[in-house]
Every structure is written in structure tokens, then in C-alpha cells.
Symmetry: C2
């Protein structure tokens, strides 16, 4: 049996996990992400933590396949990071640098793409060859797996599906600077925005008016209770999600669409709500895609990162 | 040197070409597509034509790598055709059937996808690893190449980019049955539709009013001459194309977008017109994609079909 590491590099902590080649997670731990001095300590810290683990556990380095890492920014198929603003990083080959430090081969990818690979391998997309993964959190991120391989993109920004344009006439700007992006409607903050607009546009009473700070969860909870205004907001949300996922599937034609992130906690209700709109918007030949919920939670990135290394170096 | 065949199967003719392994086209010819009796004669005709060529030219079968074929309908990565309405075909494995008839290994793909692979290999996308190909003809078709491999899709309908939704509020139906598809605005017939709407909505004089039957070429020609109404229609067209290509590139992040089909005869004017709108709509990290014109014309399908076989069986 051979082994390897999956690293999920975030803005505040680094999650590191140790796997056997079947994908069983044997250990996991976290270290802080030290972003001072343009994040120059991050890779040495990761390398030192992995080396220390290997020594403590008396692991034979010859049994290590390699290290995979997911990074919060664009990374192309060759391992070149194209700026991670959160970490203070510029443009460099992270795979080569971390490999020189840790002494094992390294493969790198964007964090959302790598999480997609994790869900494809061991989570909600298990058994698929082609899969689209969507995270519905503060923003909307995603990853695309084509015949078992990640779509990294030429500039490392493959599957930036949160920035597909849904509404050319939107007046408020998205965080990315454009107007009318998917993220402005489909993220956890997007659905709250839809709710605020709906509340402002009507006089209708609704328990949502008494929520103080409205959250995505409030809208789903009151929608489930049958509140007409919450149901109307959800309907609009499902319509946006249906067009968004329909467009992505007309392009990618996947076997499954896997939804993760905070909004996906709404569960089956979310999948059932989106489906009829999806069927309306998707090209008929691609309408067979099944919907599933992500199942690995915060571990998706570590699983996917190790899988990247396994595919590249596992032989 | 080894050799092989690329077959571009259309609704009225089958184009067959003979290549060496470097991709030099050594011969090409056509046979009619016999669609009677649910197209059951099509594959035997192709096989017989290839066998006859081999005998006449006294080619050693041991030197043949295989046969690639592009089909006017959905074909998945395993060679399963999922109905070709034009040909009367149902669901079956075309790669296996044609291989049994012709005596060489066969690899199959959708015609637009296969043409994309041709342009990627020897045409407007030469030198790219990731490419999006778009045909702007009667409809809008396309193909996506990811790190040198075609995105076939689970149901064989990968890259049906003409059926991404551009306008949820469209009232007229698309040929696919949906409403508001890219094809309704960006195809050769789509731009004529935009023109008719613009002419109906205004009283302004324009040479387009004296065209009789307006064509895409008329609109580009009069736009180039400075006719204000034609320029306004082109502006709207470029806006639609910019959103469309921006959305596709936010998802795929290619190195190049290659435009083919009738509308692409407008040439550099078309690329220059789309660019500022593309830059407005695309996610910034993917904005580096270059635009190019297709250069293989009607031979793109044969080149791409042979390339499919070469990648699969060329060793």
C-alpha cells in the first residue's frame, strides 16, 4: 500500500490530511495560514508540518506517492498560481516550489476545482465520469470534471461559473466588478438580496419582515412553512438556479450536478425546487443530469487534493 | 509512416479523407448519404468506399491506424449515437458497428465537436491546449477542447453552446423548443431576426429596407458602409455574442475562441466588434482568450475525425 497527502489551503487555516491510495483518510490536522510578508512562510510551514508527521509516524518516504494542494486562487494545469490576493501571492509555480521544500512530487489546483474532484471521487458525484460541482456559499464557486479530469483552464480560472451573466440589466455590481453575475442571485447573499428586493417591492406581511437580519435559512424555513412571500422568493431563486445550471449543463453535459456550500443545507427541497426550472432551460439532450448534494463537507478539498496527486503520480 | 481516414458524415454527402499520421491530407472524396430505410446503408457504404480505396491504392492494411467519424447528432465518448434524426438513426454504438464493417478500429464524435478538434489541430486553434470552437451558420454549434481532448459529454451533447439561454423573456421559440437560446440571436438567421425587429421598431430609412430578402452579409456590408441602422443591429449582435462567448469562457477558460460558419466570413470586423462586449461580460481571469477565425472550412470535420482516431489508436 502507498500513501499521500491532500492539502486544502485556506485564508486562515491549512487543512492537511494523510490518505492511503484507496482514498481512506488516515489522519487530518490543521495549521494556521501565516499571510504576513506576502505569505512567504505558507509553503515552508506546510512542508515542515508534513515532514514532521512523516518522522513522528516513522513513515517510509519511499511509500509516499506525492502531495496535492488546493489553493484559493487561479492555478493552471502546470501548477502556476496566477495571484492569490488573500494570501499576498503573485505569479509562481507552486507545484515546483512546494515539491522542492517537501521532497515529494506536488500537483496543485484551484480550491473549488479540487473540492469538485473530491466530491467526484468520494462524495456526491461518486461513480460519474462527468460532473459539475457548485458551491452556494457567500459566493458561487465550482469545478468541472470531464472524463475524470479537472478542467483547470488556460489561466487557471476554469469553472468560474459564479460569474456567468444571468441578467445583463442588473444595476448593482458583483464583487468581481461585473454586473448581473450568477453569484449576485444564487449565493447565500444573493438569495437574501432577492428577498430584500421582494420585501421592498410589496406591502404583503411576512414573518421575514420580523427576522431582523434575514438569512438564506430563514427564507427556506419560512418557505417550507408556506409563507407566500418566502415561497415567491424561493420560486425566483429556483428560476435563477435553473437557468444557471441549465446553461452550464448545455455546455458540459454532465452525468451529475453536485451542490455544496451553505445554501445546499436546504437539502432535497432545494434540488426539487430547481428541477422544473432546470428542465425548462437546459438543452433537451443534456436534461438527464441528476442532482445530488455534496457529502464531504469541509473535507472535500483534502480528498480532491490527494486525488490530484494520485492521478498525476500514482502510476 | 502510418495512415488513416477521417469521415465527415452529413445529411446529403459523406466526405472521406485519407491522411498520413502527421495530418497531411493525401486524398479526399465524397459519396452520397443514403438515408432511405432509416439510414441502414450508410455505414456499409462508408466501409465499402474505404475498402475500395485501399485496394485501388494497394495500401497495406497493417499501415492503417484507424478511422475517425463525425456524426450529425449526439455521440458520447464510448461511441454511442443517441439518435440522428436527419439520418433516421436510433441508439447504437457506431464505433463498434463501423469497425466490424471496415476492419479497422473506429472512433466517433459529434460533427461540430469533431470539427472543433480539426480546427484545434490544424486550423485557427493550432498551438492551443484549451479551445472553444463556434460555428455561426443557420444554427449555432460548437465544440470544446480541454487539454487536447474533446468534451463529448455524458449524453453525447457536450458543447451545445447554441442553446445556452441569452434571454429568459424571449417569446418566439427556438428550433430546439426552448425560448431565448443563443442560436435565436447569434446565428445567421438570428442576426436577420434582429434586423427585422429593428426595422419594424423604427421609421428610419436604411438600404436594408430595399434588400428584399435580408441576409447576414447585407447587414455586415451596410454596417461597414456606415449605415446607422445596420450599425445599430451589428452593435446589438456583438452585444449578444459578447455575453455568449463571455459566459462560455468564464466556464471553460480557453486560450482561444475560434469562429467558423457563414457569419464568420465577416472576418476581422466580426472579431473586433465582439471584443469590447466580451471584455465587459467575461470573468476577468479568463479575459486573455484570443479570438481567431476558423481556417479549414469544410475540411475541419475530416481533419478532426482523423485526429480522433489518431489520438485513440495512434499509440
Amino acid at each position: 500500500m502507498r500513501y499521500g497527502f491532500g492539502v486544502d489551503l485556506g485564508g486562515t487555516t491549512v487543512k492537511i490530511a494523510y490518505f492511503d491510495e484507496n482514498g481512506t483518510m488516515l489522519a487530518k490536522w490543521e495549521i494556521p495560514t501565516v499571510t504576513e510578508h506576502n505569505g512567504k512562510q505558507i509553503l515552508p510551514d506546510i512542508a515542515a508540518s508534513i515532514r514532521q508527521f512523516i518522522e513522528q509516524k516513522m513513515i517510509d518516504s519511499a511509500d509516499i506517492i506525492g502531495v496535492g494542494i488546493g489553493v484559493p486562487g487561479p492555478v493552471n494545469g502546470k501548477g502556476v498560481v496566477n495571484k492569490c490576493i488573500n494570501l499576498g501571492w503573485g505569479v509562481f509555480n507552486i507545484a515546483e516550489e512546494l515539491s522542492a521544500l517537501v521532497g515529494f512530487p506536488v500537483k496543485a489546483g484551484n480550491d473549488a476545482n479540487v473540492a469538485a474532484l473530491g466530491e467526484y471521487w468520494k462524495g456526491g458525484g461518486k461513480g460519474c465520469e462527468n460532473m459539475v460541482f457548485v458551491t452556494l456559499g457567500t459566493g458561487v464557486g465550482g469545478g468541472i470534471v470531464v472524463e475524470g479530469r479537472l478542467l483547470h483552464g488556460t489561466h487557471g480560472s476554469g469553472a468560474e461559473i459564479g460569474h456567468v451573466v444571468l441578467n445583463r440589466n442588473e444595476e448593482e455590481p458583483c464583487n468581481c466588478g461585473k454586473r448581473g453575475c450568477v453569484e449576485q442571485y444564487c449565493s447565500a447573499t444573493g438569495i437574501v438580496r432577492l428577498a430584500k428586493r421582494a420585501l421592498a417591492a410589496s406591502q404583503e406581511d411576512s414573518p421575514l419582515r420580523r427576522c431582523g437580519i434575514i438569512t438564506a435559512k430563514d427564507i427556506f424555513d419560512w418557505g417550507k412553512e408556506g409563507d407566500p412571500l418566502a415561497m415567491q422568493i424561493l420560486d425566483q431563486y429556483y428560476d435563477c438556479m435553473g437557468e444557471f445550471l441549465g446553461d452550464v449543463c448545455s455546455i458540459v453535459d454532465p452525468e451529475a450536478v453536485v451542490l455544496g456550500g451553505g445554501v445546499s443545507k436546504a437539502g432535497q427541497m432545494l434540488l426539487d425546487g430547481i428541477r422544473p426550472y432546470f428542465d425548462k432551460y437546459v438543452f433537451h439532450a443534456a436534461s438527464g443530469a441528476r442532482f445530488a448534494l455534496a457529502s464531504l463537507g469541509n473535507d472535500a478539498g483534502a480528498y480532491g487534493a490527494f486525488k490530484l496527486a494520485l492521478d498525476a503520480f500514482g502510476g
